[in-house]
């Protein structure tokens, strides 16, 4: 009886530990691999909202997914842009890089023009200009 109890307890503990590991997969201060500081990000939607800004003419193009990883000591970002309208859309984008102190980590990037077919997705990828750039913001502007 005691042995059975012990086995059950060990199995239970392992299960809890397993779950805990899965829950703790994300480092504190990161969501989907992207730095979020002390902000609360509970979903992909929250992350996209926190990391995206519009400047100039507004566009209906929206990022739907954003994931980050490290390549060496450089931050790598993949962002999926979605055009859910029935017409071709043109936008320009750039990334703004921020250092550990919250200051600009690099000079302002150039605007990069893009064309998105109707009802389509386009993945944009970039790598931080230097290891100093530990955070970012994706800026979008309509080119219509």
């Amino acid at each position: 009886m005691n042995a059975k109890w012990l086995v059950t307890a060990v199995a239970g503990a392992a299960l809890v530990a397993g779950c805990a590991t899965k829950k703790g997969f994300e480092q504190p201060g990161f969501a989907f691999g992207c730095p979020i500081g002390e902000g609360k990000v509970g979903s992909m939607g929250d992350l996209v909202k926190a990391k995206t800004a519009m400047e100039g003419r507004r566009t209906t193009i929206q990022p739907t997914e954003m994931r980050c990883s490290k390549t060496g000591d450089l931050l790598k970002i993949d962002a999926n842009l979605n055009n859910d309208s029935s017409s071709v859309k043109r936008v320009a984008y750039k990334f703004r890089w921020i250092d550990r102190e919250g200051m600009r980590a690099a000079e302002e990037e150039s605007w990069k023009p893009l064309m998105l077919y109707n009802n389509s997705n386009l993945m944009i990828s970039t790598v931080a200009p230097s290891a100093k750039a530990v955070d970012f913001q994706l800026i979008l502007m309509s080119q219509e």
Binding site: T71, G72, L74, K76, A92, K94, A106, E107, E108, E109, S110, W111, K112, P113, T126, V127, P129, S130, A131, Q143
Partner: protein, 188 residues
Amino acid sequence: MKKTLLLIAAAALTAGCAHEKTSYGDARGVETVTNQFGSTDLQQIAEAMARSMQTASAISSGNLPIVTVQEVKNKTSEYIDTRAITDSIRSELQKGGKVRFAVDAPGMTQQTEEIKRQQSEYYAKESAVEKGQMVGAQYRMEGNITSIVKEVKNTKDVYYKFNLQLWNIRNGLLEWSDEKEIRKTTTR
């Protein structure tokens, strides 16, 4: 006849009075004045190439490899200052802090002239640089830009392809290569 002359005079006066307006713009904005190679193309290419090259294992290994910039051949039908592209790539890489650059072929004359000048009798021997202290590059960067232009009555389509390569000088191996494509279409 008199009326025509008056009209011409009025038109000339109007043209003369039409005042010019100059304003500063965003140097990093999207430029679509014509579909010839422009500032947006140059900036996009330089940024894409520098960012990609920084992730190459030869560069990211952390031992500050020394690179020399060689020619980017312009294989397009238009005039493109390819030196401006490689200068921008070099600046971007330099800011990334992962690469050092050795003096390249066009800068060699100035470099040797300066060494010779410092070795003249006008300079104190202890502060003058010595000959034979320059460091050779481990890698050389070269590339080319090509274009395909198609034109029909009201439409002109230009496709640019920029290819950049990083060669290991010692063993002749290609360490990294990447491309950037740009398409621009103008319709009247």
